[in-house]
C-alpha cells in the first residue's frame, strides 16, 4: 500500500457502494493501476463471504437476541456535534465543556463527598427555560447540567412510568459504563434528549461515582427506591417529571 492508496475503510465503503460518484471513479481507476489494493479488496470480500456463508443461522441468532431485549422508551438523542448555536451560547455561558472522554484517569480521592446537583434545561420553540415544576412536553429538547464538588464518573438513567430503563449518559454507542467529569463545577452534558411518548411519568437518576466501578443499573434503581447506600459514597440525585402534550 502506498500513501496514495485509499484506506481499507474507503475500500469497504467502495465495496458497499457508499462513496460519492467522483470517489467511485477515482477508486476504480486506482484499482486498475495499483498492485496492492485489489488484493485488499479481495480480502474484504472473502471475509464478508465467510460471514455470509453462515447467514441464515446468524440472522436467527440475532433475531432471538433482539426479541429478548426489553421494550424501550422512545427518545431521540441529538449528539453534541449537532447542538444548536443557542445551546453553544448556553455552553459558553455556563463555563462548561469540562468533560473529557478518557475514562481511565485516576480521580483524586479528596473532596468527593459533597453535593451533586442536576439542572434540566428545556428548549421549547424559541424559548429556553429551566425545568422547575416537573412538567415537560413531548417535543421539548432537554439538556442536563451536572454540578459536582469533585471530579467523578457519571451515569444518567431515565426510568419511564412502565419501569423501562434507558441509559442517557454515557451514550450507549460509545460503550463504557461511565462518563468522566474531569473537575468540580458545572458540566453541561453533550447533546439533548427529546422524549417521543405523549404522556408518561419519568424519573431521571443521576449517579456520580468516585471511581470507575462495576455498578448495575438495577443497583442504582434500588438505591434510589430504597435509600440504600451505594459503594464508595456513590451519590444519586433523582429528578421526577411528567410529559403531557
Amino acid at each position: 500500500m502506498s500513501d496514495n492508496c485509499p484506506s481499507r475503510f474507503t475500500l469497504v465503503r467502495f465495496h458497499k457502494d457508499r462513496v460519492t460518484d467522483p470517489e467511485k471513479k477515482q477508486i476504480a481507476s486506482h484499482l486498475l493501476a495499483c498492485p496492492a489494493c485489489p488484493a485488499v479488496l479481495r480480502n474484504i470480500c472473502d471475509n464478508e463471504a465467510a460471514y455470509e456463508a453462515g447467514m441464515p443461522g446468524h440472522n436467527e441468532r440475532l433475531r432471538a437476541a433482539l426479541e429478548r431485549e426489553p421494550a424501550r422508551v422512545g427518545i431521540r438523542r441529538h449528539v453534541a456535534i449537532t447542538i444548536s448555536a443557542l445551546a453553544a451560547v448556553a455552553l459558553l455561558a455556563l463555563g462548561a465543556g469540562l468533560y473529557r472522554w478518557t475514562q481511565r484517569n485516576d480521580v483524586a480521592d479528596v473532596a468527593f463527598k459533597g453535593n451533586l446537583a442536576v439542572k434540566v434545561t428545556i428548549r421549547r420553540g424559541d424559548g429556553v427555560f429551566e425545568l422547575t415544576d416537573g412538567k415537560a412536553a413531548p417535543s421539548d429538547a432537554m439538556r442536563f447540567t451536572i454540578t459536582t464538588a469533585a471530579p467523578g464518573y457519571l451515569r444518567v438513567l431515565l426510568i419511564d412510568g412502565a419501569g423501562g430503563v434507558m441509559v442517557l449518559y454515557p451514550d450507549p454507542a460509545d460503550g463504557g459504563d461511565w462518563l468522566f467529569l474531569d473537575g468540580p463545577g458545572e458540566h453541561l452534558l453533550p447533546g439533548s434528549i427529546v422524549l417521543d411518548s405523549a404522556r408518561s411519568d419519568y424519573r431521571l437518576l443521576v449517579a456520580l461515582a468516585k471511581r470507575e466501578q462495576h455498578l448495575d443499573n438495577s443497583a442504582i434503581l434500588r438505591a434510589a427506591d430504597t435509600g440504600t447506600a451505594l459503594p464508595d459514597d456513590t451519590m444519586i440525585e433523582v429528578v421526577s417529571f411528567t410529559t403531557s402534550p
Partner: protein, 169 residues
Amino acid sequence: MGSGTERISQIETLHREYAGVIYDLCLRILRDRIAAEDAVQETFLSAFRAMDSFTYGDSHLPWLYRIGTNVCLKMLRTASRKGAVPDEHIEKYGSLKPDPARAMHARRVLEQLSRQLDDRSMQILLAHFGGGMSQEEVAQSLGISRRAVVKRLTRLRAIAQELEDADHE
C-alpha cells in the same frame, strides 16, 4: 424511532447489509473467527440498544464501525483479564499473508494495550489498524479532530509500528 418490531426489522436490514464487513473489522482486531462472529452479533445488538443515538443523516457504516470497535475493545479487555483465547485459535485472517505467529503476537499486543490504555486511545488504535481507517476517517467516526487523532497515534508510534509490521510482513 418506530415500534419494537419496526426497530428489530431495521436492525435486521442493517445486519444483512453490513454484517460481513463488520466481521472483517472484528476479525482483524480479534484474529479469531468464532470470537469475531460473536462480536458481530454483539455489535448489532448494541446498535439496537443505541438506535436512539443514531442521528438522522449520518451514515450507518461509520456508526456500526464505532460500535463494533467498542465491542471488540470490551472483548480484548475481558480476554486480557482471563488470559482467555488459546493461542491455536488466533489466526491471521484479515491480512494478506497468513502468518499465525504474527497474528498471535498482534492479538496479544492488543490485549495488553487494552489493559493499559484509556478508551479513547484504544478506539483510535483499533479504528486505525483494525478498521483500516485513515486518520481523517478515524476523526470523523469518533467525532474528534484529526489533530487529536494524529497526536495520540504519534504518542503510540512504537506500538503502531509493531502492529503495522505484523500486518504487512
